[in-house]
């Protein structure tokens, strides 16, 4: 009963926070509430026995998305502040184009319909869990989620790393505003970033290693690395000139690149794309996860940075 009350409270809290985040008249409040919503989502994932997702949600869904949103809002408010009314509170107010109730009516029908459908599903269904359990032995890892991500459905993960790369290519091709240095970081942030960076790296390495048999893995580790990058960028650290060219791009491509090469090699050796022999599976997965961790971390930090670093040197 107590458990049920907790879940109900959590569910209502999620809905309430989402509503407040979406309807808040102040954009800053909306984003902060959205981050809080993300953290509550992480709790919901824990309640649903999905610790892997809880970690990913807390780091990426709430943390990095929140950082991206806040950085965008800051740029929206300050970078264009001299241009008339941009970013003024009046413009940010939740403007509504037509009567608010108009879309609400069909959407209530959608809620009712989808709710009915969800409730009509049978209370018990094994999905693919029996297949996963039966083949876990030969997958090379004992965490079933990692097994699905890196082995059974590794092809999806390959394409997912490509999505991340495509987003960065898009951001760079748009000539996004690079993160400026509006204010000096100050001694506290500076010291904090110096102290925390090794801790972040340690945590990332731990998450990467533990992902084989417990919650964790490349995405969680990569997002922790990305968070370290965000902190360093905020503290005023910048890519050293010379490293922004090919070396940086090599790190960004390492994850999907290694994946494609492994895909090719396994196909030549075993006959099917990404087919690992059971003996080599765990070492291959560790290799793929390590390269992916570096790429994910670098890509997320670069997405936060925005513009292409040292863009003017690119055409020489």
């Amino acid at each position: 009963m107590l458990q049920w009350a907790l879940d109900a409270l959590l569910g209502l809290g999620l809905l309430w926070l989402a509503w407040c985040a979406l309807m808040s008249p102040n954009l800053l409040k909306a984003i902060v509430l959205f981050v809080a919503f993300g953290l509550l989502m992480a709790l919901a994932w824990v309640r649903l026995d999905a610790p892997d997702i809880a970690l990913a949600e807390a780091a990426i869904g709430a943390g990095l998305t929140g950082a991206l949103l806040l950085a965008a809002l800051a740029r929206l408010r300050f970078a264009y502040a001299d241009e008339e009314t941009v970013g003024s509170p009046a413009q940010e107010e939740a403007k509504v184009r037509f009567p608010q109730w108009l879309p609400a009516v069909p959407l209530l029908l959608v809620v009712a319909g989808l709710g009915y459908v969800v409730l009509s599903l049978p209370p018990y269904a094994t999905g693919l869990s029996t297949e996963v359990t039966a083949n876990l032995e030969s997958s090379g890892v004992s965490n079933p989620v990692t097994a699905v991500l890196l082995n059974f459905r590794g092809y999806d993960t390959l394409l997912e790393l490509v999505v991340l790369l495509v987003a960065l290519l898009g951001v760079w091709s748009l000539d996004g505003l690079a993160l400026g240095r509006e204010t000096a970081p100050g001694p506290v942030l500076d010291t904090l970033s110096r102290f925390l960076t090794p801790v972040f790296i340690l945590v990332a390495a731990y998450l990467l290693w533990v992902g084989a048999h417990a919650p964790g893995g490349a995405f969680q580790a990569g997002s922790v690395l990305g968070a370290a990058g965000v902190l360093l960028l905020l503290a005023g650290w910048r890519f050293r000139a010379g490293l922004t060219e090919l070396p940086l791009r090599l790190v960004l491509v390492a994850g999907p690149g290694a994946f494609v090469i492994v895909a090719l090699v396994t196909m030549l050796m075993e006959g099917q794309l990404l087919e690992y022999s059971p003996e080599q599976a765990s070492i291959l997965i560790l290799f793929l996860e390590t390269t992916a961790t570096f790429s994910i971390g670098a890509t997320l930090a670069a997405l936060f940075f925005g513009g292409r670093p040292q863009d003017d040197k690119e055409h020489t």
């Binding site: 204010t183 100050g186 506290v188 942030l189 904090l192 102290f195 925390l196 801790v199």
Partner: protein, 99 residues
């Protein structure tokens, strides 16, 4: 329940009370500086008590280490963020509250 469980419960409840106090301060105090004060001080102690309560239950030293690490990291983050928020507020020219 064995004695260590009672200790845990006591520590957890004490921690929760500190959190409650901190949250009340956040809601009731008049300006950003006093709110920060209430929030960070009370929450740091509250989290410390909760961590202690869980340490009592820990089954291995590794778990104890992780719990303490969490506390240290939150202390660091809380203190730094409080400082940054206060500094930002000062730079924006927000005055200290006076009765």
């Amino acid at each position: 329940m064995i004695p260590s469980d009672y200790l845990s419960v006591a520590l957890l409840i004490a921690g929760a009370i500190f959190f409650l106090a901190g949250t009340l301060g956040l809601l009731r105090f008049p300006d950003v500086y006093t709110r920060l004060h209430a929030l960070t001080k009370a929450d740091n102690v509250g989290l410390g008590l909760i961590v202690m309560g869980l340490v009592v239950q820990a089954e291995s030293w590794a778990a104890v280490g992780k719990l303490l690490l969490i506390w240290v990291l939150v202390l660091l983050a809380g203190a730094s963020v409080a400082h940054l928020v206060a500094r930002g507020a000062l730079q924006r020219g927000i005055r200290l509250w006076k009765r």
